[in-house]
């Protein structure tokens, strides 16, 4: 890492007022050589930011540390049955939180499967949602790719086995956050605070941006803004959820494919409403609308679950090396739907899950 100065922030609004760039802005260069020594960037757990700095992908002049700010890591039930999770809550705490395991099981399951125990003890939910993509060309200082301000995408002609199969025109990153898949299925919102202390809530679906809208960032976080919390809406009493992922290794690996299913069941085996979101599939958590439509009002059994798996693939545009993701996604949707509806599946769910 290049040398940098250090400033612990006294408050969220102070951090927002000092920061001169978002990390995405600071990584955007014409030449591919980061010249960002004047940039002052906000650091929470630092899991992603320190990694980017070690790789020389960004060289901030100052880090504004928010990791020790009080009152930003609470997990609290709201009067309406929703849950507010402070941005500094770690993935380990989210995974082990008894009330969350009851109310929003798919989020607990996803948080428990992200990274390693050591990382989960440090990684904050806010930082996890704001981490930069894991595309190996984007992460390589030798590749000045489109997302960093360059003129080429190296993934299309190159090795794109881990890349997106939906909405992958222009740039084929997959969204890097594991919990985001579950949060999107719960229709969560992020809370953003500015330097004046004003807070606003934005649906996750509007917060994340596709490459077609903006190639150079993954979300609409503005300079001078801080992600302070995630809000989960209350769940109907009959809502059942399941998160599943599959990777090359059972533990400590990025998913090749993931799904979060939230089903509102009517007590007679029928699904009133379904929320199906795919992970590791698109540059944002990818809502499988055709699968949701097929499941709404349907009796959940093996046949409808399998049909939902096929419907989830509608609109897929796989690249030269990643068509294998399609049967993985279809199988995960089928299993997650059956598991959420508490119908036994033949195959084990989540090998390697704690």
């Amino acid at each position: 890492m290049e040398p940098f100065a250090w400033q612990p922030a006294a408050s969220p609004s102070e951090a927002a007022s000092i920061a001169t760039h978002t990390t995405a802005e600071a990584m955007l260069t014409l030449t591919g050589r980061p010249d960002t020594q004047q940039a002052m960037l906000i650091k929470a757990g630092g899991v992603d930011l320190l990694d980017l700095m070690k790789e020389g992908l960004v060289n901030p002049g100052r880090l504004i540390d928010i990791s020790r700010l009080p009152d930003l890591d609470g997990i609290s039930g709201e009067p309406d049955g929703g849950v507010r999770i402070g941005a500094l809550a770690t993935l380990a705490r989210i995974a082990a939180h008894p009330a969350l395991q009851q109310s929003h099981a798919a989020l607990s399951q996803a948080a428990a499967l992200a990274a390693s125990p050591q990382i989960r003890n440090r990684a904050t939910l806010g930082g996890n949602l704001l981490q930069r993509p894991r595309c190996w060309y984007f992460r390589s200082a030798a590749h000045h790719c489109l997302r960093k301000g360059g003129a080429h995408c190296f993934a299309f002609p190159g090795d794109n086995r881990y890349h997106a199969v939906f909405a992958n025109q222009g740039c084929a990153i997959v969204h890097a956050s594991t919990p985001a898949t579950a949060l999107a299925a719960y229709r969560a919102e992020v809370e953003l605070a500015d330097s004046a202390g004003h807070r606003r809530r934005v649906p996750l679906a509007d917060f994340f941006v596709l490459p077609q809208a903006d190639m150079h960032r993954e979300n609409t976080l503005a300079r001078g803004e801080l992600l302070t919390a995630v809000w989960l809406p209350p769940q109907k009493p009959d809502c059942r959820a399941q998160y599943l992922q599959i990777g090359e290794r059972a533990a400590f690996d990025w998913p090749l494919a993931a799904v979060a299913a939230v089903l509102d069941m009517d007590g007679t085996g029928h699904c009133r409403q379904a929320s199906i979101v795919l992970g590791a599939a698109a540059p944002v958590p990818w809502r499988a609308r055709q699968a949701e439509a097929l499941l709404a009002g349907a009796r959940i059994d093996s046949a409808t679950a399998a049909a939902a798996g096929e419907a989830a693939l509608a609109g897929a545009t796989p690249l030269s090396q990643n068509a294998y993701k399609l049967p993985l996604l279809a199988a995960l949707v089928r299993r997650a739907v059956l598991s959420a509806a508490a119908i036994d599946t033949v195959l084990p769910a989540n090998p390697g899950a704690p």
Binding site: E2, W6, V47, R62, S116, I119, R122
Partner: protein, 178 residues
């Protein structure tokens, strides 16, 4: 005392520190240690360099292999991914602080009994993860042990012996030795 306060203040809220080296205080293995670090100095570098605690190993330096695992209070963390300047009051425990005055920590003894060491480079980190698990769960099952060590890369492949050593500690029974 006043002197110590000033040193703490160097990293206090609102103050800008560095990029030049500055004095900080770390609580390591029950001792209070003063040292100079740059803001960019990782905890792993501070432990191995100025503090001379070379039991903590740096392999990947990216949080991927967990060889550098230490405890911050009771949490196992990758010390390569923590800055020394941000540790503050939290207690650091390294492999050097695990054993008692005249006897090994039970995890260390079990690693010897079950031959859970080969080249040994990943061992300090693995021991720290296993001891952290045992501290919060005295009778872990195979699944819990596998999850606790899932962040560790051991190129020699000692994982089965590590699991056996931990099962033996938890159950006081003979684990299945294939």
């Amino acid at each position: 005392m006043a002197n110590e306060h000033r040193k703490e203040d160097a990293a206090a809220a609102g103050r800008i520190a560095g990029p030049a080296p500055l004095p900080i205080v770390l609580r390591v293995n029950g001792e209070t240690r003063e040292l100079m670090v740059e803001p960019r100095t990782t905890l792993a570098e501070a432990l191995r360099g100025p503090l001379g605690l070379t039991g903590t190993k740096i392999a990947c330096n990216h949080g991927v292999c967990s060889a550098c695992t230490v405890w911050l209070d009771d949490l196992a963390v990758a010390s390569c991914s923590v800055l020394a300047i941000e540790v503050g009051e939290r207690r650091i425990t390294t492999i050097e602080g695990l054993a008692g005055q005249d006897r090994l920590h039970p995890v260390q003894a079990a690693f010897i009994d079950y031959d859970a060491v080969q080249c040994g480079f990943c061992t300090p980190g693995l021991v720290m993860s296993c001891a952290a698990l045992l501290a919060r769960n005295p009778r872990p099952d195979r699944k819990e042990i596998e999850t606790a060590i899932s962040g560790h890369l051991c190129r020699c492949g000692t994982y089965p012996h590590v699991v056996q050593a931990m099962l033996a500690l938890g159950t006081r029974e003979e684990p299945d030795l294939e």
